[in-house]
Structures are given as C-alpha cells and as structure tokens.
Symmetry: C2
Subunit: 347 residues, 2 copies
DNA sequence: AATAGTTATGCAAACGTTTGCATAACTATT
DNA sequence: AATAGTTATGCAAACGTTTGCATAACTATT
C-alpha cells in the first residue's frame, strides 16, 4: 500500500537579488532601474522591467519601509466606523490617500479613552507616517498624542478636536452653520424658535447652541429657556422625549432647529401625529444631511456638513505635512464650508 | 546682529540594541526577555522590562514583520465604506481583529473591477497576512485573486462571493430569509403578494426572488408576473417607481416583500399618500434592518442580515486560517443566521 | 572527581531593500 | 596624447528584529 502526500508548494517571492542574478546586474542597479533613476541607461531599464514582469516580481514594501522609514500608510482613529458621518469621512480619506499612494489603517476607539490610548501605542510601533483622529467623547486631555509630535509623525484632527494643544484641525464652523440655519427659520417668519441641543460637554454642540442664540439676538427675538432642550446623545428616542415636552408647553414653538437630523425626524413625527402641520404650524431644521432627511415626509431642511470633503481635506492636509518637512508650520486649521439644504420642512 | 535657529530635535527611537548596551546584555536576550521566552531568567526579564519602560522602548513592528514575514495586518476590500451594511461589517471585522492583535487596512473598489485589480496588487506588496473581500459589482471572474492562493495568503469573501472558484465564504441564506419573510406575509393572511427584486445579475437578489417564489408555491399561491418588479440598484427612487406601478394595477397587492429597506420605505410612503392603510390594506416587508426601518411609520418588518456578526465571523475565519496552517482544509463556507424582525408594517 | 544534564546567555546571520561613495569605461576638450 | 568630464554600474553597509546553534557556568549524579 502506498500513500501519496501532495504538498502544495508556496511560491517563494521573487526578490531584487533574484532579478539581479538572472540579469547579471547588481541589486542596486535593479532597484534603481525599477525606480526610474536617471543614472540607469534606458536599455538596462527596459531589460529589467521586462524580466521583472516575466518573473512576476512584486516589490516587498515591508523591506522598503524598513529601510526608508516610510510606510506610506496612515492611521485613522474614529469613535465608530458604522456612524454614517464617520464612514463618509473615512471614505473621503481613503479616496484621497489611494490616489496618492497611501493606504489607511482604521481603528475604532468606541468612544473609550482607554482604548484610544491603547491605539496610540499600536500606531506608534506600526510606524504609520501620519494619523487622522476624531477624539473619543471621553477625551479631555490629549497628552497621549504628544508623543507623535516628538516622533515627527504629523496628526490631523477632525470634528472633535483637542482644545488643550496646538494641532492640525479640520472642522466646520458650527457656530455659523447654526446661525444660518436659525436665521433661515427667522426669515421664514418663525417667532418662537426652539432648539434641541447636543451634549454641552462637546464643543461642537456648544457652538451650535451659541450660533442659535446669536441669530435670535441679532433679530431681537427673545431667548426662551423653555424652548431650549438638552439631550445626551441626540438619539431618536431623546428627540421623541423633547418633542413631547414641546407639546406640553402652553404655546408650541413655530420653528425648531435641531442639532442633528435624528432628533429633527422625531420632532416631525411626534408633531404630525398630533395633527401639527409641518412646515405650516412649525418649521423644522436638522443638522448633518443624513440619508433619512431626504426620505422623511416632509423632507427635512438640514445643514450639509460635507463629511466626505472633510475626509478628503484631512487626508490632503496630512499628506502635505508628511511630505513637506516644513518645520516652520506648527499647525494649520481648516474650516470646511457647509451649506443649508432647504427642503419641505421649512418651505 | 545674531540669528538663532532652533531646530526641534526629533527623538531617535530606542531600539533593542540601545537597551542591550545599557544593560550589558545582547540584543537577543533583550528580544527574548520582552517576549517572555522561558530560557531567560526572571531576574533578567524584570531588569529588561524596567529599562524598556524607563527609556520608552517601542518595538519596531516593521522590522519585526520584515524578519518574521508576518505583518499582523489584514486587508479589506469593500465596494464602498459609506454603505451602512459595509460599515457594519467593517466594524465587526475591526472589533474581532483588534482583540486578536491584528489591524485592518481598508480599500474601496468603488464597484470597479479595474480598481479591485489594482488593489490586489497593492495588497500583494503590502504583505498582508490575509484578506477579506466583498466583490465589486463588475466582478465576474476572480482570477486576480488566485495569486493569493499561491502566496499562501488566506482570503475570506462575504456577501458578494465568487462562484467560479473555491473560496472561504461568509454569507447569509438569502433564499431561506426571503422564504421566511414571504411566509410571514402569507401567515398574516396576504394572498396577492408582490416582490420588488434587486439586480438579477447578483446571486443574492436572485436567491431572494427564488425564496419568494418558493414560499408562494409551498402555500399554493399563484405567482403573478405583474406583481414581481425588477430594479437596478434597489434605490429609493426606483422603489417609488415600482410602488406607482402597483398603483396602476386593477387590483393592488395586499402584501409586498421588498429586497431591501429603501424600496420598502418608498412603497410605504407612496401607498400611504394614496390613503392605502399599512398593514391593513397592504403589509410590507423589507430586507437588511437599516436604521430607517425603526423610524419610518409604520415601523418596518424586515430581515436582520446581521452585518456586524458577518464581519466578526469573517475575521474569525480568516485569522483561524492565518494561524492554523492546516493545509488540508481547502475552503470553508459559513452561513450566518438571519432573523425576521416583525414590526408594525405587518402587524 | 569525573561526567551528564540544566540554565542562561551570546554570536552571527538573515530578512530585502536603498543609497553614499567608488570606479570602470566611455566621450569631449584642449 | 593627456586631461577633464560624463555615464552607467557595483560595493558594501545599513535599517531592527529574530532565531538556530554554540557555549559558559552552573547543579546533580555517580
């Protein structure tokens, strides 16, 4: 009796040395030829490229990174990937990075400071060339990011950015966007305007509230504390609770600016169930231009926060800092233009 | 006049050799000590760990990868990151990978075969340990993935998987899920059930249509061709078009099983505008359990496709294949359990 | 006291690329 | 014909880790 064992041979990868031996050239010449180095003759370049193609040579970028100390990869830390805003930002980052020969490694902090700190350690030994970060909600001090300054690894923060140290930032102008959104309600004739606010520990939501107030002040409308409701996470259910609070007031608001679309949608639904006509009795504005804003009836007027562009700009800024080693720029701050998308909920 | 130029010194990274010199030990001992190798005495391990901590030693994982040929990183190719389904899958992958010391590098094929092919080249020279893929819509032949078999780099496909070669797969049972969804409508008393189908070039949507038909057959209901409508991308607008087609029929369907939630939502909205009561006059079932299914009124009955679990299972399967070099398993196929979430649109 | 076994450490090479410097073999200039 | 300049290539070292093998310095056994 005989037993045959077939062993599937894994192909050993072709290296520069293999090509060199095959062509009777040195590895340095091969390396330079493939890199299109001017010192190498065209004839040699052609020969080398042909042979590389023929033998299926694939450069080992780990070896290259090891030698050059450049990994051509950037790390991203987001609270959660499955939040639509972040997935759009990541998409924008990937898109720009891909075009420029970088790739992106993603980490979720899950809004945990502990995990965020762990991730910075991993990124440090992974030797990424740069990092894009949206801070976890728990993060107040950013000391764990300072090591990257020392190591010369550029960082760009977006959306939730540090306040305690000087960093590259890509943000929108929440104050102004909120101002514009509120102004829009005022121009539509609203006099009693409410606001559903986000967590006031987060600067973004603080700025939206401030922008809201500033618009009322500009147009000499009173700021009624009963019309400003606070939430923890701007969740759909919290929006329902807020809307019900409005219903219990002796007089309803005739307009509501919500700090995100989920709460805006819940206000629309709760109000409509009570027979309140939107926008006739109350006009509603959201924030973020979530897909649902185009589906809810009536369609929701909202602020497009241009998440994809935010991602692209972050990647662009980061890669510029990686590649221009201009030590005189300490930090840059970019503000992305937002736009108010007017739909039926305020028409 | 004097000019001072301050140059910010970048800290040179501490290496094993630095530690070795400092402690009068060899680099090999340091390496083994930090790796908790049994041959090293506890006293030495302690000394080494202390010194490593003191000098802020961070292992250079690029050097390590270079030496060991393991990068502890996995590549992911998805059509688009900002599609909620994929962002959930990625979240599941990242979560499992993180717990197991792997990190994930993401690429978007943008549903382009050309870009998918480019990405496989990048992944090849990036030396990832394994790859998770959802095929682009254009991909019919998978030859560009075969090189990874030769290189011994395991792959796992999810959702859109190859049919032309033997591969590890993680999928849901679309046939059965569609069958169950349709059966649910039948048990609720529907007799004239419609289906809004996805692109029939995609196996998933073919299977959903088949499952739909099989359920009707089992319960001896007629399959009415006029009630089966085909779409290209199952987009919201296409759903609106389909719903309007139903309205033009001499007799409306009393139940519709839609191949995704967007089309289901549009049917609900179009029908309601015509005064058709849901679920009383027509019950609606969707597919995928998108966030909107909990918000639309009435809340949508839908199939939870367990995207997060799909991601986790893909990562688990992949990492098992990376770590157990069991050459006798050629491929594995995993089917994730789905569940029908019954909400008001069929109650 | 000689031998065998154990414990803890070091040597040296290797992974595949890149790059400063050297140099051989030309060509152009006087 | 001598010199200077140019072109094309190779040498050798380096990046920071890991690991098979060797071995020094013990301890235990006869």
């Amino acid at each position: 009796m005989q037993t045959f064992v077939y062993i599937v041979m894994k192909n050993r990868r072709i290296t520069l040395k293999d090509l060199a031996k095959d062509l009777n050239l040195s590895a340095s010449t091969i390396s330079r030829a493939l890199d299109n180095h001017p010192a190498i003759s065209d004839a040699t370049k052609k020969k080398v490229r042909q042979k590389a193609e023929e033998l299926g040579f694939i450069p080992n970028s780990i070896a290259s990174s090891f030698r050059t100390k450049k990994t051509k990869s950037i790390g991203i830390i987001v609270p959660r990937i499955d939040i639509h805003f972040h997935s759009l930002v990541i998409s924008g980052i990937e898109n720009y990075a891909y075009k420029n020969g970088y790739n992106v490694t993603i980490f979720q902090s899950k809004d945990s400071l502990k995990r965020e700190k762990e991730i910075t350690k991993i990124l440090q030994n992974r030797m990424v060339d740069g990092i894009i970060i949206c801070l976890s909600i728990e993060t107040e001090k950013c000391d764990h990011f300072k090591k990257f300054n020392k190591l010369g690894v550029p960082m760009v923060f977006y959306d939730r950015v540090p306040t305690d140290f000087d960093a590259n930032k890509v943000v929108i102008n929440d104050f102004e966007s909120a101002f514009t959104a509120t102004e829009h309600l005022i121009k539509k004739g609203c006099k009693r305007i409410g606001h559903i606010a986000g967590n006031q520990k987060t600067n973004i939501f603080k700025a939206r509230l401030e922008g809201f107030k500033a618009a009322l002040e500009k147009y000499k409308l009173p700021i009624d504390k009963n019309l400003i409701l606070y939430t923890k996470n701007l969740g759909y259910e919290e929006g329902v609770t807020c809307a019900k609070k409005y219903l219990q007031l002796p007089k309803l608001p005739d307009g509501v600016f919500c700090a995100n679309d989920y709460t805006a949608v819940s206000v629309i639904q709760v109000f409509r169930k009570q027979g309140i006509k939107i926008p006739h009795d109350a006009a509603i504005v959201g924030f973020s231009n979530y897909p649902i804003s185009k589906i809810i009836e009536p369609n929701l007027t909202t602020v497009n926060d241009c998440a994809f562009q935010m991602g692209e700009s972050s990647a662009k800024l980061l890669i510029r800092h990686i590649e221009d080693k201009d030590d005189f720029i300490n930090s840059e701050s970019i503000t992305i233009r937002t736009e108010l998308i007017v739909r039926e909920s305020t028409k």
